[in-house]
Amino acid sequence: MSELTTLPDAISRFVRPGHRVALEGFTHLIPFAAGHEIIRQGISDLTLVRMTPDLLYDQMIGSGCARKLVFSWGGNPGIGTLHRFRDAVERGWPRPLEIEEHSHSAMAHAYAAGAAGMPCAVFRGYCGSDLAKVNPNVKFITCPFTGEELASVPAHRPDVSIIHAQKADRAGNVLLEGIVGVQKEAVLAARAAIVTVEEIVDRFEGLGTNAVILPSWTVHAIVAVPGGAHPSYAHGYYGRDNAFYVAWDAISRDRDGFRRWIQEHVMEARPETFQERARAAVATRSA
């Protein structure tokens, strides 16, 4: 049964050094507030899993949280490269970063296999791609029925998955709307799941019968963090803070500038700060 708690409590109880942790959200509903709490608590040696490591993982990698990254696309969407990620891969700063690189299809299939309790995913993929040569976790198997060669990767089984969603109800069920990415699969694949939400409501109202709902018994901790996906967006609450994504390129370009930003905006901030940030972004957008 999910438990309503605070972000510092949820992170310190479930995320331990050395854990394999997935923070998911495909452009939409990225759990920034939770990632910042991991940075604040100084949890390191993590294997970070995520299809699209963008600004959040750039911040976590630059802060030294990660030993390894499992991913399929690492960039600042629409802007370009991730400077902290590249500094770690190319120059080992602030510590060397081991990478396990996949395609999106492989990552999506691996989450689905994890959710299904399978040891591996089987799919039609990696045909003629050098990714299969550099990633020892990409194997090929023969279909026992047709003889077709198919790709296989291990299922994702994170120690902890963390997502951000629109709503939870008092019973601890979670509602996701809009671009839902791989979040349902990431939660079901994990040994423990933390969900931050925009708001907690008495009950969900006016939903269609097929809404994406994670029952309370699939989630361990729920935390209300309004604005917790900023600078990404929460469908129905606030838009994407595109200006911040643009600004990140300059902020993250050099190590000192990055450290100053982390000190001011993460180390000296609290989860409550996110509400103001999302509001400010909305105000700027409509101005």
């Binding site: 939409h28 629409g78 996949h102 395609s103 989450y111 689905a112 003629g128 791609s129 050098d130 990415g181």
Partner: protein, 261 residues
């Protein structure tokens, strides 16, 4: 139409857009492909179906998305499915007719690199990575590519093959048992190229107005071939230019930044 001026980038986007038709179901890459696909939908192919890997099916954005998962894509879509469903049922299931891609580097057989420049373990430049392209390249019935033409992008040998075109010899697809066609069109800011029917090597079939063979040679890292009959690409029409410029202006206004392309 005479006297209308346009940029090389506009010519590229217009030429890429013309490749798409009303019957196509197109898996759209972000950036240049997204601009071309939406221009096609706003001009000659209003019934073109666009899908983005964020799970948005039949989306009709009024502005170009900055990311592959902008809210605009979801709000204007017929429906939005999960990312595993997108890759399993829709792409792997063989329901997509065209994949429209960009990339950092391409070779003469249409193989693409978006992973690294230099050795994989000690890269000179770490690029963004595969994203969806590895399976888009083999899962869609055919692939169109749109890229800016320069010698760093059009290279003799790729540092890394992220997604398969026609392989290192031009014959790999058939050898692997693939039934999809692979890359059949490359559009650049200088020309359009299609693969030779036999060798699968891309050759120039049309030059954009004012572009010379020499310019294409200088900007191509391999000894580029020209088709027997190279034609001049039709210049953008007034209607095409107006639609593209309106789209870019709406996009710039919505994002509060200059349009990406």
């Amino acid at each position: 139409m005479t006297g209308t001026t346009y940029s090389a980038a506009e010519m590229m986007t217009v030429a890429a857009a013309r490749a798409l038709g009303n019957g196509d179901i197109c898996f759209v890459g972000i950036g240049l492909p997204s601009a071309a696909c939406n221009l096609a939908r706003l001009t000659h192919a209003p019934h073109l179906t666009l899908v983005y890997e964020s799970g948005t099916l039949e989306t009709k954005p009024t502005v170009l998305p900055l990311s592959i998962g902008d809210g605009e894509l979801c709000e204007t879509a017929l429906t939005t499915v999960s990312v595993p469903e997108m890759f399993q049922y829709w792409l792997q299931g063989g329901r997509i007719s065209v994949g429209f891609l960009g990339g950092a580097q391409i070779d003469r057989f249409g193989n693409l690199n978006s992973t690294v420049i230099g050795p994989y373990d000690k890269p000179n430049v770490r690029l963004l990575g595969s994203g969806g392209v590895t399976e888009i390249a083999t899962g869609c019935q055919r692939i169109y590519v749109v890229m800016r033409h320069n010698p760093r992008a059009f290279v003799e040998t790729l540092a890394f093959v992220t997604s398969l075109g026609h392989g290192v010899t031009g014959r790999e697809r058939r050898a692997m048992g693939l039934t999809t066609e692979g890359p059949v069109l490359v559009v650049t800011d200088l020309c359009t190229m299609t693969p030779d029917a036999e060798t699968k090597e891309f050759e120039v079939v049309s030059l954009h107005p004012g572009i010379t063979r020499e310019q294409v040679r200088e900007n191509t890292g391999w000894d580029v071939r020209f088709a027997d009959h190279v034609v001049e690409t039709s210049a953008p029409s007034a209607a095409e230019l107006e639609a593209l410029r309106d789209l870019n202006a709406r996009t710039a206004k919505a994002h509060g930044t200059a349009a990406t392309e």
